[in-house]
Every structure is written in structure tokens, then in C-alpha cells.
Symmetry: D2
Subunit: 269 residues, 4 copies
């Protein structure tokens, strides 16, 4: 009998691209809060979500340097299977009366992270992401976490730059970021290939993320700069900033072993 949480399912269940949950994550984040054209934000929402009229166009861009593992943690001893970097954009929206966060575009640099994202409803593609790191030693190269320090993130896909963001730190942050704080809702989606069914996906459902062991540390805030570059086969640049908010740097950890399906969507949504 074949075993394994994801393909390829195999006799011993060791070959799966994504092993079974729970999945544990730790990451260093750059969060750049901003506002895009409200019409552009409305245009990326699935029809089950509505624009957040009280603060239209509210977005955040996030660059994350991740490490992740399953319960046994064996990935940490073969870190090519544990580490990945990610760039994504979130927008705020309403689900009924509830303020939520929705992720229209996201890129990661490893296959297991792409597949694990799809399972959670993140619309991941592969990209190349780089993020300034801090080292705990005095050096011009160390990017220490001090007032005035600048941390940058870049993202690319298919050999095109997609984004460049810079956060300039000012001080420890009393409150942390807010644009990505509302509960996250995604759309899980898996197409059909049968003739006549290309517009009727096999999986098409609005989901609400669930997580546990959420921990946040070392939150600093300051100013933010962000460029989103138009490139063929991407539409993220329609969400380019019209106004910037604060920038943040922080460390975050959490775990995932569950997901709530909120609505089965009609195929035209």
C-alpha cells in the first residue's frame, strides 16, 4: 500500500514532496505596509471577499527568510530541505463583516514550500528571493539591528526582477505591523484537465488558516520603500504602492496542522 501525505506516494512514505503535518516554521520578516490603488486591490479579490471600504487599498509586502521542519526536525540536519525564502503581497478585505487578509501573489525558492503552500491555498510560484541578514558582530557587513540600519528584500521570477523593498529601522516597535494582522483567508485551487472542465476546478474553496505556537520577537519599526516592477506573465505590479506606511523587521515562529474550509466556491469565482 502506498504511503505519504503528498505525491509521490511510495512504499515507505519517505518520498513525499511535503511530509505530513504538523509543520513548524521560524522566519525573519521584513514587512512593508502600504496602500495600492483601491480598484487594483478590489480586482484581485475572489468574489467571496469584498473590498475593505474603511481603508481602501491597504496592503503589505513581506520578504521572509524561513526555516521549517516536521516534528522530528530531521530537515534541520539537511537544511536544503528546511530553508526557503519567500516574497508575498497581502491585501485587506471583508468576509461578511470580518476584516481579513488575502494573499493574491507569492513566490518561494524551493519546491517543498511551493507544494506546501498550494495545500494551504497560497498561490505560489517559484522565484529567487534575497533578504539582508543581521550578524551579531561589529562589521560594516553585519547589518546590525540598530536605529538607522537598512534591510532590503528583492524578488525575481523567470529572470525578471519583481520587487525591491527597503526598511530603515528607527526603534523597537510597540505594536508591530497591522496590515497583515487580520485572519488570513486563501483559496485552495486545483484544476481539472478533462475536456470541457478546464473552467471547473476540482478544488476551489475559500479557506481560513489555522495555526498554533505563534511567537513573535524583536519587532523593530521604521520607514519603508517599495518598488514593484511590471514584467510579462505577472500582474503584481498593478498593486504598486500609491502611499507607503511603516516598515518592520521581526522574527516569527508558528506551527500548522489544520485548515478550515469556509465555503466551496462556484467555478466562476
Amino acid at each position: 500500500m502506498l504511503k505519504g501525505y503528498s505525491v509521490p506516494r511510495s512504499p515507505e512514505g519517505r518520498a513525499s514532496i511535503v511530509p505530513a503535518p504538523p509543520w513548524h516554521y521560524a522566519g525573519d520578516f521584513l514587512v512593508l505596509e502600504y496602500w495600492a490603488n483601491p480598484e487594483a486591490v478590489a480586482a484581485v479579490l475572489p468574489s467571496a471577499l469584498k473590498p475593505y471600504h474603511k481603508d481602501p487599498g491597504r496592503c503589505a509586502a513581506l520578504f521572509v527568510d524561513w526555516q521549517s521542519c516536521t516534528d522530528e526536525g530531521e530537515e534541520l540536519l539537511d537544511p536544503i530541505r528546511a530553508q526557503y525564502r519567500e516574497f508575498f503581497i497581502v491585501v485587506n478585505a471583508l468576509y461578511g463583516d470580518e476584516l481579513v487578509t488575502y494573499c493574491p501573489y507569492i513566490w518561494v525558492d524551493r519546491d517543498f514550500a511551493l507544494a506546501r503552500g498550494w495545500i494551504q491555498g497560497f498561490p505560489k510560484k517559484l522565484g529567487s528571493i534575497h533578504i539582508t541578514r543581521t550578524y551579531d558582530v561589529p562589521s560594516r557587513a553585519a547589518s546590525q539591528v540598530v536605529p538607522g540600519a537598512r534591510f532590503a528584500g528583492t524578488a525575481a521570477a523567470n529572470d525578471h526582477r519583481l520587487a525591491h523593498g527597503v526598511v530603515t529601522l528607527e526603534k523597537p516597535s510597540p505594536d508591530g505591523p497591522t496590515h497583515n494582522a487580520p485572519p488570513l483567508m486563501n483559496v485552495r485551487h486545483f484544476p481539472r484537465l478533462a475536456a470541457g472542465q478546464h473552467d471547473h476546478p476540482a478544488v476551489h474553496e475559500l479557506v481560513r488558516a489555522r495555526s498554533f505556537n505563534r511567537e513573535i520577537a524583536n519587532i523593530w519599526e521604521g520607514t519603508a520603500e517599495l518598488q514593484l516592477y511590471p514584467v510579462p506573465n505577472e500582474e503584481h505590479a498593478a498593486l504598486a504602492p500609491v502611499r507607503m506606511g511603516k516598515g518592520f523587521r521581526l522574527t516569527f515562529g508558528y506551527s500548522v496542522d489544520d485548515l478550515e474550509t469556509v465555503e466551496y466556491l462556484r467555478s466562476e469565482e
Copy 2:
């Protein structure tokens, strides 16, 4: 309204990791026919398929240097979105009384090919694949298609070598390969993350590939050598050869816009 055949669905439908079918493919193939331990072959079959008792253990390993596009062919003018390389193993099996081909393990080097494979039921992971090419000029480096020429394929994933194959050409092949000739059946699979549902995938169905515009050319045959290396998190080496058959080099083209779901499988299969 969001558009697009696959994630991310977007206002203009240009961002999808996989654009809508039809998909057209052309590839240079190395096909290495062999036999593995029959028990190992039986162990990779989904329960809807049975071992091919008349010739137990029959397998083939394939290295393919692909180029693909949609109808407009725009990917051919941005070839990072058209080209990919692939390594996969197929085994023979019975579906009822019908001899079929089944692919337990496959690696590709680009995200669009991974996602397009999942939609067709290929259990793709990312890898690094390299295949000797031929050039139409006399040179020691040109690997021209002549008797005695040797063509190699290598595959790796997560920085481990998975496979090394060599085909030594003898002559144009009157019949072409047979181990991968029976109709291809895959299992489309997409997991659930909801607690308690990890063993009940959202999509789990036996499918039969459909294609058109199939063209084959320049088939040569000769001898084959193949090594499959055991590595952590892979189980393909259980299908290592116990006996080699012929090796082939050929060029193949085909198109896909359909798929037949043959059975909805129970989750334990």
C-alpha cells in the same frame, strides 16, 4: 472576476503558473529499458493497478530535454518559460486486463512543468537534470548521432545525485521502445489539511492520459547502462535495474488538452 487556469488567478489571467491547455511539447528522449525487482515494482503500484505478471519488473528510465508552449507560442520567445528537463521512471502494470504504463517517480527543473505535471497526475518534484546534446557539426564535442555515439543523462534533487544513464547508439531502430509504449495511467492527488482529513485527499483519482499530434522521429537504438542511487527522502533506488534492455534516443512531439478520469480512488489506495 479572477481569470486563469491555475494559481495565481488574476484580473487579466496572465499570472497563472500553468496557462490553459492545449499544451504542445517537443523533446529529445533517452529511453533506457530495464527490469527491476518485481516486488519493488509491485510495491509502487496504486491498488487499482496490478503487477504485469507476464513480464514482471518491466521498467524504463527516461531523460527528456523538453520545449513546450501554448497555442500562441509566446513561450518560445522567452524560452525560460518553455524549456525544461525531466527524469522519470515508468513501470508496466495491468488495469483489469489492459497493459498500462505507470509513473511512480519524476523530477523536473522548472515550476511550470511541476505544476502542469501535478494536474496530469505526474508526481513531480524539482530536480536538476542534464542530458548530452547533439550538434550538427563535426567536433569531438558535438555528440553526433552515429553508431558508437554515447548519450548520457543525470538527475539530482536536493543536491544528491539520483540517477546516471548512458545509451550507446548502434543503429536506427526499426521498432522503437516498448517498455513505455502502453497507455499511461497516473493518479491525480491533492491533499487535505483540515485536521482529521490528512489521510483523505481532496483529489485522488486514477486517470488515463490523452494526447494528440503525436509524432516521433530519428529513433536510434543500442545498449543501455543505468545507476539509481539511494538517497534520503527518495525511494526510487528500490527500482534499480536487475537486468538492462535496450537503450534508445529519439525525438518526440505531442499535444495535450484532455484527461480521462477512470476511477475515483478510496483514500487508502
Copy 3:
């Protein structure tokens, strides 16, 4: 005693990044002939070369899909060590009264090709290069070599697109390209790090390429389109086209085991 043509030199001499010559090459070429701003061309010449006043600004951009090996050809059986792709720009210049070709900028996608280029005086950096391929089978994806077929090349470095070129084939070419035909002269250069010597390289010499076994085949010609994109840390876009010439597709093979040092340059050149 340590052995090996290049670093790392080792007890058995097997570890060198570049094995000893001769080196054999076969490649599929896209050649895009054009003219840049003559001042921009003059500005990239070492002082030992002078602008080609009879046809100022004459350049070519080349995308090449290479396979290479040493005498034993073992690299062809481990093709990750044989294959690479390359994008480069050449300009025409005068050495005394002799019309020559000079390469100011070049990118390759493998380390052995970078190092082998430095040894020959090519100023190589790493990049990501993709080039449309042809397959010998009727398919929309096959890019067959026929009138009207379009072949593209792209180059990127540090996650920025550098160049996009397209050649549209018209007919077999009676004469082949001319902008890259004059003898190639490079500058071999290797810096010093000793304090006070940063401007006095250890190697700084004008060289003339030597090769043998030159073979060319399947030359087609047509029209050419080329974009060179300005990016940080690159200056190639100063050589962007002001006028396009013909485009070519061809296959070329040659071998190298020699180089002529023409002048030892002063460090300020």
C-alpha cells in the same frame, strides 16, 4: 607534487576547475548584428585598440548554447560538466591597421566556463541564459528551422534581465555573419591585492585568440531585434542598438589549445 592546469591543484590533478587544453566546443548560435552609439563603442576599448572609423559603432550580440569537452570526452557522459549557455557582445575595432573583434561583456551559466573564459581573456561573469531550441519533429513547440521561424535569446544576471534578442529566419545564408568575423582580441587580466598595487594587475595583456578545427553549418539569416536593459552594476546597456542589421542562426564547432600574447599592457590601460 600538485598537479592540474588550474585551481584547485591536487595530488591526482583531477580537481581543477578547468582541465588542461585542448578544449573542444560545439554550439548553436544566434548572432544579432547591429550598430551602437560609436562613442559608446569607443569607450569600451582598451587603449591598445582604436575605433573602427570606417563603420563606427559596429557590434554583434551572440547567444550560444554550448557543449564542450577535453580530448577524452568524458564530460559528455556527465553533461553538467560539458554544457553551458553564454551571452556576449562584441564590437569591431582596429589593432594598428587590422580590423579585429573585441568582447567587452560576457555572461555564462557555469563555473568551468567562467574560469576557462578568464584564461582566454573573456571578462566573464555568471548569468542565466536561455535560447530557443529546434527539435526535428513537427510540433508547434519544435521551433523548426524554416522561413519565418523565430528564435529568441535572453540573458540575466543577479536576478535582472540584461538582454532579449529575437532572430526571425528568412533563408539559408550565403555568407554568414560579418560583425563577429574579424580576428578576436581579448585582454587577459588578473588583479593584485597587495596594498598599493590594486591598480597594477598581475596579468594585463592583449591577446589574440587561436583556434583550430573550425566548422560551421546550417547558417540561416533573417531579421534581428535586440533590447539591452540598464541594470545596476552592469554597463552593457550603453551598447544598446541604434540600428539593427541581420540576424543569424548557425551551428559552430572549434577547438582551442593556444593563445598569442600580443602586448603586455601598462596598468592604466
Copy 4:
């Protein structure tokens, strides 16, 4: 006039693969002290160095997660040009009566680091290196620096795994590592291609590293495990451990703008 410290030299001097020194570095290190077969260590020494007879076979393997920049630090805002990972082996030797460190083999994952290494006499090739990171948040995925924590490094080149090392932390280290502590001596080497000169490199000199602003922090020590895997075209596995010493994790920063040439070597050395 062309400008730039390294190729490609260009009108504005912005295109060089390696900008002019000083170069500033910060890195998180895993240092695995061990002893190899003394004959194997003697065999990798250039003839100007002699085996360290008082403690024969003494080696260390190092995995480093680097960030580097020039004085202006602009690379830190485009971190693809600042960050790289490195794996290298050092052996102890005598230069006259002086105990020194010599690096026979080293791999990095970025072109600027490869070229900058060559200039300093490090025999760099490209590889793929991964190193467990620590995150300052409680999580199973965070690999916090505590007694019992395990940090791993892996290295690969040409799709083959070269090395796997694990350090298990026990306690803050009072003294830090010693196998890599003696002054570093390298051999700068740049070949000739002129016929008859392949064995007479243009640059072949014993050099002594110079650095400033050396800072070390957060030194922990514990036990170490190391595997070096034999692969084609590499000879590092001859230096596999016969006995392990301590393992260390630490953060290190330093700057480089100078190098001392100690001896011009004869070509046969």
C-alpha cells in the same frame, strides 16, 4: 579609459565582478576540527610548505553563511550581491618553522565570491552549500543556540554531495577553534594558455593573508561529525576524517584590503 578592479573593466568601472577593496565580511561559522590521514594532508601541500609533524593530519572543515560588502555597503541593499555560502577544508602545515593554515579545497555559491577568492589565492569552485540557521524565537524550527542544539552543513558541486557535517553544541567555548587559527597561506595561481606554456602559470605565488577589524562572537563548542564523499572530479575525500575533534559555532567579522606575496613559486610546485 577603462576602469575597474577586475573584469569586465568598463567606462564607469561599475561592471567589475569584484569591486576594489576593502572588502568587509560577516559570517556565521560551523567549524569541525578533525584529523585526516597524514599522508593525504602532506599530498595537498605546495612544495613551499611542509607537513606539521608535531600533530600530523590536523584539519578543519568549515561551513560559512556570509554577507559581505565594500565601503559604501550598497551590496547590503541588493543582497544577491552580498550574500554567499562557503564550504572549505583547511590543513595545518609549516612554512619554515612557522605553523600555518593552508586551504586546498573550497566551494562557494556566487560568482563574485569565486573571483574574489581567486584574487586572494583561494582555489574556489562553485557549489551549493546549506547551513542550519538560528532564529531568535521559540520554535522547533528555530534551532536556538542552546546545549544539545544541532547545526548542520552540506556542500555539493555538479549535482553531487561533497560533504555533510553536524555540530552538536554543549556550552560556550572558552577558547574557540584552534585547527584554523594559524596564519593563512594560499597560492595565487593563474594559468597560461600559450602553446608550450600550459605548465608555466602566469601567476604562481605563495601568499599570506592580511586582514583587519577581526571580531569574533558567540563561540559555542561541542562535538562534531563529518562525512566527505568521493565524487568524480574532486579529490577532497582523500582528506576524510580518521578522528574527529571538537565542533564549534561562532560569528566572525573581518575586513581585507591587502595581501603579502611571500614567494614566487617555480611552475613545478
